[in-house]
């Protein structure tokens, strides 16, 4: 069972997660977000936000969101178009953690590398959650 994100200290590094951008998953993602633009860019390309979604999915498989968690902010940089079928690896680390007035503010660095080790997407998520685990 995944630990809670609330239990993780600054500096915690998640084990890398590798995944393949399976056609079925990409199709389901495109349908879920109703993206009608990506097909006009090129055949077999993946919406860049799908990389972020997969990276966060890998993170959530390793650390559950605490009750009352709120996604406050997101930074993302995309470095090249990614295609269906590519093999990728997601990395994540807790890079900041502070507490104020009963709320924890946590920064999580995210990155996705391709099969040759080149970064194709990187970014940072900022989340907050009650420090006592309650859901106000």
């Amino acid at each position: 069972m995944a630990v809670s994100l609330a239990a993780l200290p600054r500096g915690h590094q998640f084990p890398p997660a590798t995944f393949t951008l399976a056609p079925d998953w990409v199709r389901d993602y495109v349908a879920a977000v109703d993206d009608t633009a990506i097909v006009s860019v090129g055949d077999g390309l993946v919406p860049p936000m799908a990389l972020a979604a997969l990276c966060i999915r890998a993170l959530l498989e390793r650390a559950a969101l605490p009750a009352g968690a709120v996604h406050l902010g997101q930074e993302l940089s995309f470095h090249r178009p990614v295609s269906v079928g590519e093999r990728l690896a997601a990395r994540a680390a807790v890079i900041s953690r502070g507490e104020r007035q009963g709320w924890v503010l946590m920064g999580v660095e995210l990155a996705v590398d391709d099969a040759s080790g080149e970064v194709v997407m990187e970014g940072r998520a900022t989340v907050t959650f009650p420090s006592d685990g309650s859901d106000p």
Partner: protein, 134 residues
């Protein structure tokens, strides 16, 4: 517009993208993203929270913004896009969300835009900046 990134002038509005959120869509996103937080999918549970009902995943709404930027900048967005946003308010089933952007700076082959997602009541759900290389 895709061929004209380097020539876009400040004040130029990017073509907006509007979509109406449904609970079914939120449920689908929960499955595909692996984020099964009941705040998004369980009406009964969500009604007991401070949100008073289910809300969409922030990353789902952010995908609308990325689609708007894909329409505006094409492959350049996938190759060099940068996005920095804050999630300011939740989007709910039934909300029509409009993703929009305005060029605020251009030069040296890069364009910087202010971007946002808002609902029909004028509430800003997401705001921030996007940058792309031409």
């Amino acid at each position: 517009m895709k061929q004209q990134i380097a020539t876009l002038k400040p004040g130029r509005r990017l073509p907006a993208v509007s979509k109406t959120l449904t609970q079914e869509q939120i449920d689908r996103y929960a499955v595909v993203s692996g984020d099964g937080n009941p705040l998004h999918t369980d009406r009964r549970f969500a009604a007991t929270t401070r949100f008073g009902g289910t809300v969409a995943h922030g990353m789902l709404v952010l995908a609308y913004l990325s689609e708007m930027l894909t329409r505006a900048f094409g492959e350049a967005w996938l190759r060099s896009g940068r996005l920095k946003v804050r999630f300011r308010a939740p989007a709910r089933p039934g909300d029509t969300v409009t993703a929009s952007g305005t060029v605020v700076q251009s030069g040296d082959g890069r364009v910087r835009c202010e971007v946002q997602c808002a609902n029909v009541r004028g509430e800003v759900l997401i705001s921030g900046e996007a940058e792309v290389e031409g």
